[in-house]
């Protein structure tokens, strides 16, 4: 006996195909909507801020006059901050990832570390601010320095980097490791000469994305009490400094309307920085796409 009636199947086929088309459109619209939000955001900011983007804006310190206000200190400060965060978070993150992926045995302790890392990833940034204030600024006497802020931010993005590095390391085929061990290489030799070179693109991509999150963070810095008003560039890791998001936040709260536009100009610079960092990440990802 036949259960599947061909004529019924064919009749239903049309409507099934139609439903498929309909939902495809819905899914497409949903995707576009997300992109559309980005477009609105960008258009608004660009239309407000481009007027204030000129050389003076980059070469001036903050000012009480909107026309003279610049982001020199904030931009340089953000870049300095990154210079602390990048090595610290990457050394810690990649080290942890290597330990977990290559050395750690599968046991309760490893599970615990792993769980701890995922939990840290979800801890609100402002809580990291409280941690940084207590440990780095006060207990270690680092004050409101680049180092204190950098270490705080490093811990904030550490989980993200660890997870990215773990994935990159895991993606190195085990055949590569076997080939190395098969020649009598030791574990550390295999890690440094085979695993890491192959995993570097993935690690970098993940790290840059994490770094760009750190660059845009405001809340922990507010808690640390990072200054906004300063007229000098940092000269050491222990110098005080300011960052782009803080400067923008400060401008946006000013009474004078012109400062809203200055803030928008600051946002453009910040977004440009982020887009540059993201593009580097994408470039690395595409350039070194796995070949095995």
């Amino acid at each position: 006996m036949k259960y599947i009636d061909d004529t019924v199947v064919m009749k239903r086929m049309k409507s099934r195909l139609q439903i498929n088309k309909f939902w495809k459109a819905i899914f497409f619209i949903a995707t576009s909507l997300a992109l559309f939000a980005l477009v609105i955001l960008l258009v608004r900011i660009l239309s407000q801020g481009t007027g204030y983007l000129n050389w003076d804006f980059f070469s001036n310190f903050g000012s009480r006059f909107a026309e003279k206000a610049g982001i020199k200190a904030a931009l340089i400060g953000s870049i300095y901050l990154m210079l602390v965060i990048a090595p610290v978070s990457m050394i810690l993150g990649v080290g942890t990832a290597i330990y977990l992926e290559e050395y750690a045995k599968k046991n309760k302790f490893t599970d615990f570390i792993q769980m701890n890392i995922s939990n840290l990833a979800g801890v609100p940034s402002i809580v990291f601010g409280l941690l940084g204030l207590t440990i780095f600024a006060r207990m270690l006497f680092l004050g409101k320095s680049i180092l204190a802020a950098g270490l705080t931010m490093s811990l904030l993005i550490l989980p993200v980097i660890i997870v990215a590095a773990q994935e990159a390391i895991r993606a190195v085929p085990k055949e590569q490791r076997e080939a190395s061990y098969g020649m009598g290489a030791t574990k550390w030799q295999t890690i440094t000469r085979v695993v890491l070179p192959a995993a570097i693109p993935g690690i970098l991509t993940g790290s840059i994305l994490a770094l760009s999150r750190a660059v845009g963070e405001t809340a922990p810095l507010v808690v640390l009490g990072i200054p906004v008003i300063l007229q000098f560039l940092p000269d050491s890791l222990l110098s005080e400094f300011t960052t782009l998001p803080l400067q923008i936040y400060d401008w946006a709260k000013r009474p004078q309307e012109e400062f809203q536009y200055v803030a928008a100009a600051g946002i453009i610079v910040l977004m440009a920085l982020l887009v540059i960092m993201n593009s580097i990440a994408i470039f690395i990802r595409n350039k070194f796409q796995k070949r095995y």
């Binding site: 045995k105 098969g182 009598g184 085979v194």
Partner: protein, 280 residues
């Protein structure tokens, strides 16, 4: 095991006087490279190798055949202790390499593996230049002199019959090569540390017929200088290139003998079934 070997070869129908002589010579003169005694291996609770007895002789090509999952790869990986990379592995019994038990705690795996090279099923060059691939082994063992490295690279690539194809592009990434070339690069990489034994785990199964042929020819050439153990699921291949063949089934050695003997008059019914394609 040696007794068994002699008994086996006694049973063999000798086909020609020359063959008989060569076999006799083998049995008497050839040194044992790997002596496997009562060797057992478990993956967790899965008993993957059962009481293996197998003596592998110098300068032989020894083929290991058997259906999927019978333990061929496991056995060959035990010979250079690669199998220990799987954390749940447990072993008992002995595998003696040149008379010394490789599972002795004082035996450094790195030392063993510099002596016992391995070529894998899927070509697995490093994503580096061809040159760096070959120089990898010597370098990790502390050879830094550029001139010596150059010589080693050339010699190894020649040894793997691929020098002419790649000599002009030593600095290009090895992944730009075809699968067959990649596999020969892997063989060259293995030759670069001049091992004593070369283990090959289905080295041609991912290759096209022509590349397969090239690798087979290469194996024949290499046997003058190396002892070679090759896992294959292609019985014709085993017949073509090996001196001796071991037939594994369900983690046991069903039969181990001269290749022509195995393929012409196997003692065990299961061997016959397998060879005639009734399963696998």
């Amino acid at each position: 095991m040696v007794d068994l070997m002699i008994k086996n070869s006694d049973e063999t129908k000798v086909k020609s006087p020359k063959q008989a002589v060569s076999k006799l010579k083998n049995t008497i003169e050839k040194k044992t490279v790997f002596g496997t005694k009562n060797f057992n291996l478990w993956y967790g609770s899965h008993h993957a190798l059962k009481d293996i007895q197998l003596d592998i002789k110098e300068n032989d090509v020894t083929a290991i055949i058997g259906p999927s999952g019978c333990g061929k790869s496991t056995y060959i990986k035990a010979l250079n202790r690669m199998v220990e990379l799987v954390p749940i592995v447990k072993t008992s019994g002995e595998i003696n390499y040149r008379g010394r038990n490789i599972f002795e705690s004082s035996y450094e795996v790195e030392e063993l593996r510099t002596k016992v090279g391995m070529v894998f099923q899927k070509p697995n060059p490093f994503p580096k230049s061809i040159y760096d691939n070959i120089a990898y082994g010597p370098r990790i063992h502390g050879i830094k002199n550029k001139k010596i490295l150059d010589e080693i690279v050339e010699k190894s690539l020649r040894g793997a019959a691929i020098w002419d194809e790649v000599k002009d592009r030593l600095n290009q990434n090895a992944y730009g090569l075809s699968g067959g070339q990649q596999q020969r690069i892997c063989i060259a990489r293995c030759l670069a540390i001049e091992p004593d034994v070369i283990l090959m785990d289905e080295p041609t199964s991912a290759l096209d017929p022509i590349s397969t042929l090239k690798v087979e020819e290469l194996v024949q050439e290499l046997k003058d200088n190396y002892s070679i153990i090759i896992v294959t699921h292609n019985m014709q291949q085993a017949a073509r290139i090996s001196d001796k063949t071991a037939f594994f089934l369900n983690g046991e050695v069903v039969e181990f003998d001269y290749t022509d003997k195995i393929f012409s008059t196997p003692r065990d019914g299961r061997t016959e079934d397998y060879i005639s394609g009734r399963f696998g």
